[in-house]
């Protein structure tokens, strides 16, 4: 692959040839290689030689089909996490990028920025880092990539003064994400940004001084469309939902049917309802069986003008989502079918439940075990008892099919169920 050196691309004095990476400068999608080269070619900038060697090492990876970074230990004063250290294994060939650490920095909820703050971040990262920033990592962090060990503290200090704080790494509470939500979405069922900030900021100690068995992630989506992928990716997923009826503007339904046709409406709305809860009336209005509706969002997604979530909005909480290590991918399971998130008391209840889950995790998980795995190991009833939640049919696809269970206290448990039902009914009446 060294042929590239003699190809039409001219290599300046001291620059590493990058024939394979050069091929990623064509095409219609913005090129990260072109960006890396802009940094390399920034005359007089202190990071230019670093980026030359970074490009050299990356080209070396493309040739050898191997990565050449190793981890290490690095943090800023007072913190035990948030920096991802990277030391080059081929530093003898690429000495200027021998240290290329990442600062994980927590984003604002919904990823909103002013250009003023983005420009300040750029300036800081030119002073202390490589000039390479990712918006955002898979956990939601702004990733300031490419810092020497020596410059790490100064880079953090300036970002911290700007109003930003390090995110999570290692066995700790991790950086969270939330969708655009209330800021620009009619499907939002709670204040995602408030939930995001209240929960994470309450447990910062668990983020900055890692002491959990393994990682613990929160994600906040305003509805079942789950735009931040919470059910798959978060130990604690907060998903917006509602308890009352879907709101229907029947005139807008008629307009929709008139625009797209009756057959298309039946094919794409009625037939795609997962619980067969919708029918199209003869006069082109919709009828919804709200008791059967599972709040999946499909019909609302299709008919954005005619349908919307009800007024009694709140959230569901699912626990235990994670990626493949080590037992295979897991999704969160429904633990709290509905919580309100309006009054100060509601918000405190969310924080308390989050705390109960983190405590359960800290006390019961084995090293390198995620909470979903812990729940699988101890059984859902034990988890529910630990965090003070009663069993609910919304937690299951169907009741157990295995008879291997001891049921001699079934009557007492059934009595609790009927007591709860009576209490719920009484409270509903009282609040009306």
């Amino acid at each position: 692959m060294k042929d590239g050196e003699t190809a039409d691309k001219k290599v300046a004095e001291g620059q590493h040839p990058t024939p394979m990476l050069d091929e990623l400068e064509g095409g219609n999608w913005p090129s990260f290689v072109t960006g890396l080269k802009r940094l390399r070619d920034s005359k007089g900038e202190r990071y230019a030689p670093m980026m030359n060697d970074l490009l050299g090492q990356l080209e070396h990876s493309y040739e050898e089909q191997m990565g050449f970074w190793k981890g290490g230990t690095l943090s800023v004063f007072g913190y035990g996490g948030g920096i991802i250290p990277r030391f080059s294994e081929v530093a003898d060939q690429y000495p200027e990028s021998k240290e290329f650490h990442t600062l994980r920095v927590m984003p604002p909820p919904g990823f909103h920025y002013t250009t003023e703050v983005l420009r300040k971040m750029c300036d800081i990262w030119e002073r202390h880092g490589s000039g390479l920033i990712a918006f955002h990592g898979q956990s939601g962090d702004i990733m300031f990539q490419g810092c020497t060990s020596e410059a790490t503290q100064a880079a953090f200090d300036e970002l911290n003064e700007l109003g930003f704080d390090l995110g999570g790494a290692g066995p700790a509470l991790r950086t969270a994400m939330s969708c655009v939500g209330q800021a620009r979405c009619e499907q939002s069922c709670y204040d995602e940004g408030k939930a995001h900030r209240r929960v994470i900021n309450k447990f910062l100690d668990e983020m900055h001084r890692p002491a959990l068995p393994y990682k613990f992630k929160f994600k906040f989506s305003g509805c079942g469309n789950d735009c931040v992928n919470a059910i798959h990716r978060a130990d604690f997923a907060v998903i917006g939902t509602w308890r009352d009826d879907i709101k229907i503007d029947q005139e807008k339904v008629k307009e929709h049917v008139a625009n797209v046709g009756r057959k298309y409406t039946i094919d794409t709305v009625v037939n795609m309802c997962p619980t067969r809860a919708i029918s199209l009336n003869d006069d082109d209005t919709l009828e919804i069986d709200n008791k059967s509706c599972v709040r999946c969002m499909h019909c609302i997604n299709v008919m954005t003008k005619a349908l919307s979530p009800g007024d009694d909005r709140g959230a569901s909480i699912l626990i235990g989502g994670k990626r493949a290590l080590k037992v295979g991918d897991m999704m969160g399971i429904m633990i709290k079918p509905f919580i309100k998130l309006e009054t100060e008391e509601d918000w405190e209840e969310l924080e308390d439940f989050a705390e109960a889950c983190i405590e359960f995790f800290a006390d019961n998980a084995l090293e390198h075990e995620r909470i979903g795995e812990t729940i699988d190991r101890v059984g859902l009833p034990a988890f529910l008892e630990a965090v003070g939640v009663e069993a609910d049919p919304n937690m299951v696809n169907h009741p157990r099919t295995s008879c291997y269970v001891r049921t001699d206290d079934f009557d007492e448990e059934a009595a609790k169920w009927f007591e709860r039902k009576a209490l719920d009914a009484g409270m509903t009446v009282a609040s009306e």
Partner: protein
């Protein structure tokens, strides 16, 4: 290593910053007051408040790994057309918030003139979720940025248009930990050989009991090799997942010969219609072939084409396959169904067809 200063600065543990200070004032003013939205053209959303005010969002693709020049260019564009505010989506697209409809088309032209594709809305192929790869990861089997760039170059037309049956979410992961997550199509590293162990280093680098505990199939055990405490792998049990590699770098799992790419289909995050699903194996053992990964691109293209031609509106990839059946999926894509598609992991039985339902 950093010098210890006499009076180190105490961090301000400010946590998650207040987003309202960065939010476009129109959005801030209308928090929670939205009524409905529509997509007037590809790449553009129009949201309307209950009071009848409206705002336009223009979405554009980025390379995610951005140099400061790219970020400042996007800021210049936002200052001119978007009142100095932007936001990013989960998939690293950038959004400009525009109150004045007259600015929408000029903004789009400006973005396109600067090489930022406008799209990623509705039934399009949006930006690929993106991990770190050779650029920054300590355990990568492949690159992320290069794979994403190659695939998005190929899929550019599908990003800027809305010609798919429903949205298509593609993910990449540079190792089997799968940081890229679940996708309609997932392009993931799949290792094919047990780790190569450097026995000279294991005792000094690895906490051996932790490594033994990390193996999902209990294939690792402590051993004395050449008189040194090390670890050995029962290669008949080993599933080549690479779980031992992060806690024990001398157990090298990635390599030119052993690192392959597998493609998975039918993952879905949303709860719309069907419940969220995991992606399923479509094909394994594709070569890890930088800088363009043509064999991977070829398969992705085949799957996207079959889905585009055959799925019904609003069906996601997995829902389409659920309807037509896996026979037909493998026929339409020209891919092979093998014994490796039969799950053997915990819960595998639930993935098998326990009925007389068959398709011909």
């Amino acid at each position: 290593m950093s010098e210890v200063k006499e009076t180190p600065r105490e961090a301000i543990e400010s946590g998650v910053p207040d987003h309202l200070q960065y939010m476009h004032p129109m959005l801030k003013r209308n928090l929670g007051k939205w009524a409905w939205h529509e997509r007037p053209r590809h790449g553009v959303l129009r949201h309307v408040t209950k009071d009848g005010e409206d705002v336009f969002t223009v979405r554009a693709g980025t390379q995610r790994q951005m140099d400061v020049y790219t970020i400042r260019k996007l800021c210049d564009i936002a200052d001119e057309y978007g009142d100095g505010h932007v936001r990013f989506t989960t998939r690293s697209n950038i959004e400009f918030i525009v109150e004045d409809q007259a600015k929408v088309d000029p903004l789009i032209e400006e973005l396109q003139a600067n090489g930022f594709p406008v799209g990623g809305t509705g039934a399009s192929v949006s930006m690929i979720s993106h991990t770190q790869g050779w650029l920054h990861c300590d355990i990568p089997g492949t690159d992320a940025s290069g794979v994403v760039k190659s695939m998005m170059d190929m899929l550019h037309e599908e990003f800027v248009n809305e010609n798919m049956p429903n949205r298509v979410r593609i993910t990449t992961s540079c190792c089997q930990i799968n940081c890229g997550g679940q996708g309609d199509i997932a392009i993931n590293v799949q290792y094919t050989k047990p780790p190569k162990i450097n026995h000279d280093l294991v005792a000094n680098v690895c906490e051996r009991p932790a490594v033994v505990a990390r193996c999902p199939v209990a294939a690792i055990r402590p051993a004395i090799v050449d008189g040194k405490p090390s670890l050995e792998v029962d290669e008949k049990k080993c599933v080549c997942c690479g779980a031992c590699y992060p806690p024990c770098p001398p157990m090298q799992i990635n390599g030119k010969e052993s690192t392959k790419i597998a493609i998975w289909v039918g993952g879905k995050h949303s709860n719309a219609r069907s419940k969220p699903t995991f992606h399923k194996l479509a094909v394994a053992n594709l070569p890890n072939n930088p800088p363009h990964w043509p064999e991977v691109a070829d398969v992705v293209k085949k799957i996207i084409t079959a889905y585009k031609e055959d799925a019904q509106h609003w069906e996601r990839m997995g829902e389409w396959i659920e309807r037509i059946g896996w026979n037909r999926f493998f026929d339409l894509t020209g891919l092979a169904f093998t014994k490796h598609h039969l799950d053997t992991w915990t819960g595998a039985r639930k993935t098998l067809n326990m009925s007389a339902h068959v398709r011909f």
